[in-house]
């Protein structure tokens, strides 16, 4: 069970992130209204806000105060949302449900879903580059950050991982290949979220390395538990179809390792997150508990 302190801290972060997302997104009446409604539909469909929460946590641990982190953190959530919308399309994973609600293309049609994803990706860069900023971070730092994020999100990052996933039939079924697909698809954006928080707070390379190592292990742990939930989970709690990986003939951790060994592999990654954080001592309690919670999550 998460501690009360953890739950309060998580809720506070998520509330602030939602307030900022509302501030940064075009309103539902703004033209072209149907596009903006489609974008908002997926952004406000109740995500876990994992990436912006990580960015905020790293920022605070590094002594960051003030609001400079929010537009960047929210940009990461917009980026994550775009990738989900495109990933759910009929030509990709063909999912009808996401977070308990019909997927974007089920509501707005495929064309608008493609465009909503495109517009969210573009809006994410506006946020990284100063939309909604209080001006306390230099344009130079924002530019360097945005470039780092672009590299983590592109053809040798997030999109590259998706491409390997789509192209899975020509891949071998080795753990190594699965780990590297997962590092691209999930790991790099999680890692860069933490790095963003640290960089905006002005942290040095040593602390940056702590977060990189933590993020690397966390991303892997997250994907493994996601795969296990897809096999073992309950569709109602998950808010999306379960067993969908098997029907798409996806290579997953439980399929390669069996559920028990996959669980212990995830536990190993969570241990690695804890070792990674040790130089930060008690200041990192929130991130330590967050990683531990992964093993217990039901959705």
């Amino acid at each position: 069970m998460p501690s009360a302190r953890f739950e309060a801290c998580l809720l506070e972060k998520k509330t602030l992130i939602d307030t900022w997302l509302e501030r940064l997104m075009p309103g539902p009446e703004e033209e072209p209204a149907i596009l903006h409604q489609s974008m908002r539909y997926s952004v406000f469909a109740g995500g876990k806000r994992l990436r912006p929460v990580l960015a905020l946590a790293a920022y605070e641990i590094c002594g960051g105060r003030g609001e400079a982190i929010y537009p960047v953190a929210c940009g990461l959530e917009l980026m994550h949302t775009y990738s989900l919308i495109h990933d759910d399309l009929p030509c990709m994973d063909d999912d009808d449900l996401r977070r308990g609600q019909p997927t974007n293309h089920k509501v707005y049609g495929e064309a608008m879903a493609v465009l909503a994803g495109d517009a969210l990706l573009t809006l994410a860069f506006e946020c990284f580059l100063g939309r909604g900023t209080d001006g306390s971070v230099s344009q130079e730092t924002l530019g360097l950050l945005a470039r780092r994020i672009a590299s983590a999100a592109g053809s040798v990052g997030l999109v590259g991982g998706q491409a390997m996933d789509v192209n899975r039939f020509s891949q071998d079924r080795r753990l190594e290949t699965l780990v590297s697909t997962c590092r691209l698809k999930t790991g790099r954006l999680i890692q860069v979220a933490l790095e963003c928080g640290a960089i905006i707070a002005g942290a040095g390379d040593e602390v940056l390395n702590v977060f990189s190592r933590y993020g690397r292990a966390l991303g892997l742990a997250f994907q493994i538990t996601d795969d296990i939930l897809n096999v073992m989970g309950d569709a109602k709690t998950m808010g999306k179809a379960v067993h969908s990986d098997a029907s798409l003939d996806k290579v997953t951790f439980p399929e390669l390792l069996g559920v028990d060994r996959a669980r212990s592999y995830a536990r190993q990654q969570v241990d690695e997150t804890k070792s990674a954080l040790s130089p930060l001592g008690g200041a990192a309690w929130f991130l330590t508990e967050l990683a531990g919670q992964l093993l217990e999550r039901q959705a």
Copy 2:
């Protein structure tokens, strides 16, 4: 007929742009190879390179020398290419041919086409933000430029125009609506290409306004002639399906105005480009001739 000087100057620009695109893009063997091949397929399918040519021309007119403009100019071409790939998808315009060759999804499948578009958009931002740069432009200027481009490319720019196009059945059939769709869909990226050239060359607001006005009229002239070619053109010369607008029930300039009045409307816009350029005198000869060529183009 274009002058020999114009043709030589255009060819020189296009050759340099192609060299830089090759330098900026991941190689076809780099993993994930199939994704990189899909991206390269559309980028090197023989486009007119209009946007980067405009950026280069504006840069030179403003006294810009050196190579600082190339990564930004090429980023604009990557952005244009992503929008074409997504626009051709079955759920959008469902086009089988583009520039005389099968469209991206016909060769690589829909999923890879969606991802190639996503990766090109992301790579475009890497280019705007310093990929391949010689370091002569400050990170601050690059960041501000990238933000300006993001705004022109997003939900109240390029993607917004596409959304209005997709959603055309609920639109009125007024010239005003068509003009504003076209300004978003085509105009803003053309305008921002010229502005990029001027800004990187260090031009002031007065010159910037000249290019904004020129780009605004040029974008409109370009779209009108595109529509006319879709009605009157020859599929072989065009390298793509003609009469496709009518079969999609698209509102176009020739349909609203008739071909003759559409032609004279395009001519009017070309005249406007010339007035816009007049403060620059002879230095702007290339842009003047380029606008005039639009009226004669066959593809």
